[in-house]
Every structure is written in C-alpha cells, then in structure tokens.
C-alpha cells in the first residue's frame, strides 16, 4: 500500500464527506427544531437533483448556477410539506410522524418514477471530466466544487443561526418551544421556515453532485442512510456536529475501504456510530 493511494483515498473521503455534511445539516436542523425524523430527506435531495437536471436540459442553466433556483424551489416544497402534512400531526406520537415521512418519501420516489421514468440520467458537462493532478494524486473538479459548496452553505447556515434574529428564534424554538412562544416567537412560522431551510440543504447537496453522480428516483437512499449516522454522530440537532460528523464518516468510509472488502467498508463508520451511542449518546456536539 503506497502513500499516494492512502492520500488519494483520504482526500476522496474528505470531499464526499462534505456532501454528507450538508445533507446531514438539513436533517439535523429539522430534527432539532421539530423533533421529527424526516425519512423523506433523501427523496427531497433527489428532487433537488432533478431540478438541476431539468433546468440544465431545458434552459441550459449551468448546474452550479441552478443552485440559486433550487434553493427557493426546495424551500417552498419543504415549507409546504411541513405546513400541510407535518403540522397537523406535530403532536401525534413519534411513530406516526415517522410513517408519514416514510410515506411521503415513497410517494415522491414513485412520482419521480412515473414522471421521469427510472432511467439513470447523467448530466453531461465538461466539468465532469476535468481533473487536476498533484503528482499522482487526482482531484476531480466536480468533487472539489461539491465539497466547496457544501462548506460554503454550511457556513452561511451557521452564520444565519448564530448571527441573525431568525437564527436566534430557530434556536430558541428548538431548545425551549414553550418559552420561545411566551417570548413572542411565532413557533409555527419557525417550523415551516426550518423545514424549508432543511429541505433546501438537501436540494443544494443534490444539485452539487449532479455533475458526477447519476440521477434516478432512488438516488437519495444511497446518501440518506449515511446522513442518519452522521446526525447521530454529531449530536441530534447540532449543526456543527453534523458538519464535522459528515467529514469524519466520509474519511472513515475511505479508510474502511482501504482495509476491508466491499460492503464491509462501512463497518468502520458503523462501529464509530455504535460506540458513540454507547458512550456518548448525545453525540460529539450534542448537549
């Protein structure tokens, strides 16, 4: 096993880890505020990918530029999802909410199969084939851009949450909903805004990987299971935790793949997952 190979693997793990991070941030935000585990998150991400794809195919919108459109579209979808489906059962037992989001996920996936067929679609841009080399180590431009976008959006979100009134209101609603309500915060509004932001995060991550990942109705499943692990690792509801957790899982996966065959490669990240649950169930950054 040579050094180049190890460095290459770690680098690729880190880059894909950035994508996990952004997906997980959306998930953790929704959980943190509403205590709803959103099984439809992967399907929402898939919608983001199709948005970018169709914008590119029909309007020739640059896939990275299309993110500016994907954000509002997915925000509206997420907000509507919260308003019309989650809100009515926000007080219902957790398993009801779980089944609801699972139902929505299946609905979205099958609608996608119906509307766009289960075909694999590849967004053909010249970016996809641009690769930089440092010595023998290759860095694919599209992976690098996906990572950069994930970090950028995670940072923007972090700023919003810590520096703005809206962010403070979101955090207040997440920590102490009744107290927040007494202080005059419109909790219902915060709920749909958070759900919208969370969905937009999934959409952005989807859009950011369209240049190197095939698009098909079930694509979200591949990423979202990892995102759950990341969320628990980072601490449920912790945005910073989700970000760091994503990078850790990305790197752990590639270390796993170096030493373990095939499907076993996730073993390392799941061992971390179990250990965290056993010894620090609140996660790395959870309280």
């Amino acid at each position: 096993m040579n050094l180049n190979f190890v460095l290459q693997s770690l680098l690729n793990g880190l880059l894909i880890g950035g994508v996990y991070s952004l997906i997980a941030i959306g998930l953790t935000l929704i959980f943190g505020v509403m205590k709803v585990i959103n099984f439809a998150h992967g399907a929402v991400m898939m919608l983001g990918m199709y948005c970018t794809y169709w914008l590119f195919v029909f309007l020739k919108v640059n896939p990275y530029l299309s993110i500016l459109l994907v954000i509002p579209i997915l925000f509206i979808i997420g907000a509507a999802f919260q308003n019309f489906l989650i809100n009515p059962i926000i007080k219902a037992p957790e398993h009801n909410q779980l089944f609801l989001t699972l139902g929505v996920s299946l609905f979205l996936q099958n609608t996608a199969v119906f509307l766009w067929s289960p075909d694999y679609r590849v967004l053909k841009t010249h970016y996809a084939n641009i690769t930089y080399y440092i010595g023998d180590i290759s860095i694919s431009l599209s992976h690098l851009l996906a990572f950069g976008l994930a970090v950028l959006f995670a940072a923007i979100l972090y700023m919003i949450l810590t520096r703005t009134d809206l962010g403070r209101a979101i955090r207040a609603a997440s920590e102490e909903p009744q107290g927040a309500m007494l202080m005059g915060i419109n909790i219902k509004r915060i709920y749909w805004i958070s759900f919208g932001i969370g969905s937009a995060c999934a959409g952005v991550s989807g859009a950011a990987i369209t240049t190197f990942f095939p698009i098909y109705p079930y694509v979200g499943d591949i990423f979202v299971l990892t995102a759950y692990v990341v969320v628990v690792l980072g601490g449920l509801g912790s945005v910073l935790g989700a970000f760091v957790g994503g990078l850790i899982i990305g790197v752990a996966d590639s270390i796993g793949a170096m030493f373990l065959p095939g499907a076993m490669k996730s073993i390392l990240s799941f061992i971390i997952f179990i250990l965290i649950l056993l010894f620090k169930p609140t996660g790395l950054f959870g309280r």
Binding site: F212, Y216, M258
Partner: protein, 430 residues
C-alpha cells in the same frame, strides 16, 4: 379490472372487510378474495367471448418477472420492453398457429429486485393462469423464482441471470437461454489471451473489480479458477457495494495493483461511476475488460460518458450482428421503442420466442406438455451468435456463448472471435 370493481360493489370484498373489521384483515383473507376476483376476471376475459363469438383466437397467458421498481428499476423497465417486443413479434406473425392463431398475453411480475418478492409474484402469476414465465435479470431472484416454479410445475425460461446454480439443481421446469457465469469468465479469458497473442503482447496479471452480490462474486471466482488455464493469474480482487456513494478507494486499490489487465463486473449505474473514477485517477492497463458487465456494452454507457469509454472491452452475451434476422429485429425494436436493444434486452427478448416455439410444438397450453416440448427445443430462428438453441439435461442452452466487444469511435463493435467480428480489435489500449 371492472370485474373486480363489480365484486367490490356487490359486497364480495367489502362485506368481508366489514365482518373482519374488529379482528383486522388477515393476509390470507386478502389473498383469497383477490384470488377469487382474479379468477373471475380471467374467466371474463378468456372464456366468455369465445362462447359468444364462436372461435376467435384465444389468449395464452405468459408471465415475466423483472425488477420493475426499486433500485434496479431502470434495468427492469428495459427488460419489460424487450419481453413485450418478443410477445408482439409472435402475435404480429399470427400467434400460435397450432392453436388456431392464439395470441400471447403478457402479465407483469415485479420483483422490486428482491428475491422474497419474487416468490409471491410467481404465485400470483400462477394463480392468474400463466403457462410459462420468464425473467429475472438478477441471479438471486432467478434462484428463488425457479424454485417456486418447480414446486408449482410451471415452466420457467430464464432470459437473463448468470448464476451457475440456476441450472445445477436437477430442476425439471427450469430452462436458461443465456450462458452461465462460468462461460463469461472462461470465454473472456480465452478471447483476451488470443488477442494478446495475436498482438504479440505478454499478459500475466489481472486485477478484478466487482460488485459484491452473487453476480459479481461468482464471475470473479470463476475468473480466478480458470485464469491458470490460460497462463494468467488474479493477484488482486476488489469487491464493492453498488449502494456505496463513492468508489474511489476501491478504484485506487485497482490502480495500485498495476496489473496488465483490469477486469470489471458490475451493473449499469455503478459501471458509469467506476469508469469515470478510473479515467479521472488515470488508471492504466493494457486493457479494461468487463466480464458480463451491465454497463460496458450498453449503448447508453457511451451516450453518458462519451470519449471516456473509448477502447473499453466486455466479454458479454451479444446479439448476432452478422445475422439478417437479428438486424431486422433490432431495427424493428428501435422503431417500436426509440431505444437501442442492449444485449441484456436481447436475452430478455429471446425466451418469448423459445416459449412460443414450445407451445407451437406442444399444440397445447398444458404446462406439462409445454415443458416436454421445451426439452426437445431445436430452435434456429433466434438472434444469438450461436447454433440452434437446444437445452441440455440440466435445462441449460448448450450452445450459448459470449463475444468480446470493444467500444471504438463511440460504437460498440464485436472484435472477437473473428467469425462474428464487426471491427478490428485495438490492443493494447493506448
């Protein structure tokens, strides 16, 4: 469908639901009721008109099981088109002549890519009255589907599914058109050795990248087993899961192996990502050879990846590109679906005509008679690069073989063996 609705309205299903409301509906009740509804529907569509109109062409039901939804839905939907096309071809040519021009009617079975789902789908098709079934695209699904058919005594003609075991269990009702995985591996090794010899190149080592279900694992096992026969060895094999988000470390292992040849077995979606990673990481070898690869000789693969695919090879089943009947069939398929018929689709299509031929000779829709006729199959009006389709004792198409394809100037060409070749092989890859 209208029959089912009537039944519901009359209270057949609803009264049952109401009676059981307190206890809930059990699965058995549900099956009983829907089964009954199905039987009524079948009687309505087949029996009734023949009484009314004398003797119009009756319908013969055949079933197919493919992953029509789920993670392999893309592949499954394509397979469905191939089977549909096979049925249409038979019907357009006058149906089953020995049964008064009876038309074939196709019933869908959706495995969702899951073996356990295949069992209930086979049972459902059986209840609906199919005389034969074809499928499955996945070996794991074919193993259980054929087992269920054996129990129900329904002939099953496997189109695509490569696992050796399928025809190694002494089953009477299982037949398979495509070559088993051992043939893919063996022919792949044989062809590449012959090509290297002809080019005066020395090849010794193979690094094998494969997806980790039975499909990829078996192909790699056989390659490791047969390689010494051709003076080759497989020092490195790297399995991966198709559900992983990133394959770059796996590809990195292959690169680090620095072998003369890279072999690869996988499905379409992962194949696209694997090749892109290989090109981006500048993986070099004298040849990249797919063994029964789901992507490497698929027309859409070139469409998606363009020049990255240049020179990629694949030992795979293929249509006979030098046969006029095959060319005509491909053209008609393209006209019908605006889609190129991939080799998988070719083998998805072929069992229908094999089944139709058996029904024709059996002169009956009795499943036992059809099975009997299948064992005596000697079918030449096919589109495969082989002699007549004949099934051995074990139900395997004895003459099935693979060809070696190569992507040259963005076209899939057959490059070996020479009697089926459409272009000159490029080896070693630049």
């Amino acid at each position: 469908m209208s029959n089912i609705r009537i039944l519901i309205r009359k209270g057949g299903l609803m009264s049952k639901v109401n009676n059981k409301a307190e206890k809930g509906i059990t699965r058995r009740d549900f099956l009983k009721t829907t089964g009954l509804a199905g039987a009524v529907a079948a009687a309505g569509s087949i029996g009734f008109p023949s009484v009314l109109r004398g003797a119009p062409a009756p319908e013969i039901l055949i079933g197919h099981i493919h992953p029509l939804s789920g993670f392999l839905a893309f592949d499954g939907q394509e397979m469905k088109k191939a089977v549909m096309f096979g049925v249409k071809q038979i019907n357009d040519a006058g149906g089953i002549k020995s049964l008064g021009g009876a038309q074939l009617k196709l019933l869908d079975g959706d495995s969702e890519g899951k073996p356990e789902k295949a069992i209930s789908e086979v049972e459902r098709l059986h209840r609906a009255g199919v005389v034969a079934i074809t499928g499955c695209y996945q070996s794991a699904v074919a193993i259980v589907a054929t087992q269920t058919c054996e129990k129900l005594q329904v002939p099953f003609v496997v189109g695509v599914a490569s696992a050796e075991d399928i025809t190694k269990r002494g089953f009477k009702y299982t037949f398979r058109v495509q070559p088993p995985s051992s043939v893919f591996a063996d022919q792949g090794l044989k062809y590449i050795t012959q090509i290297a010899q002809a080019a005066g190149e020395k090849v010794k080592t193979i690094a094998f990248l494969h997806e980790n279900t039975q499909f990829g694992t078996t192909l790699a096992d056989f390659t490791v087993e047969y390689a010494p026969k051709y003076g080759l060895e497989v020092p490195v094999r790297v399995p991966y899961s198709t559900r992983a988000a990133d394959f770059s470390t796996e590809v990195g292992k292959i690169k680090a192996a620095n072998a003369d040849l890279i072999f690869d077995s996988g499905y379409f979606g992962d194949g696209v990502r694997v090749l892109r990673a290989m090109r981006s990481m500048r993986v070099k070898a004298k040849a990249i050879v797919g063994i029964a690869n789901g992507a490497f000789s698929h027309p859409k693969f070139i469409e998606e990846l363009g020049e990255l695919t240049e020179n990629v090879m694949d030992s795979n089943y293929q249509v006979n590109l030098v046969s006029p009947f095959a060319k005509e069939t491909l053209a008609n398929f393209k006209a019908a679906f605006n889609l190129d018929m991939s080799p998988s689709m070719v083998y998805g299509y072929q069992p229908v005509s094999v089944i139709a031929d058996a029904i024709e000779r059996a002169k009956s829709t009795d499943k036992e008679a059809i099975r009997e006729a299948l064992t005596k199959t000697d079918f030449s009006r096919h589109i495969l690069p082989q002699g007549p389709i004949q099934f051995g004792q074990d139900g395997q198409n004895k003459n099935a073989t693979t060809l070696l394809m190569q992507i040259l100037n963005k076209k899939i060409e057959v490059v070996w063996p020479k009697e089926y070749a459409t272009a000159k092989v490029v080896f070693p890859h630049p």
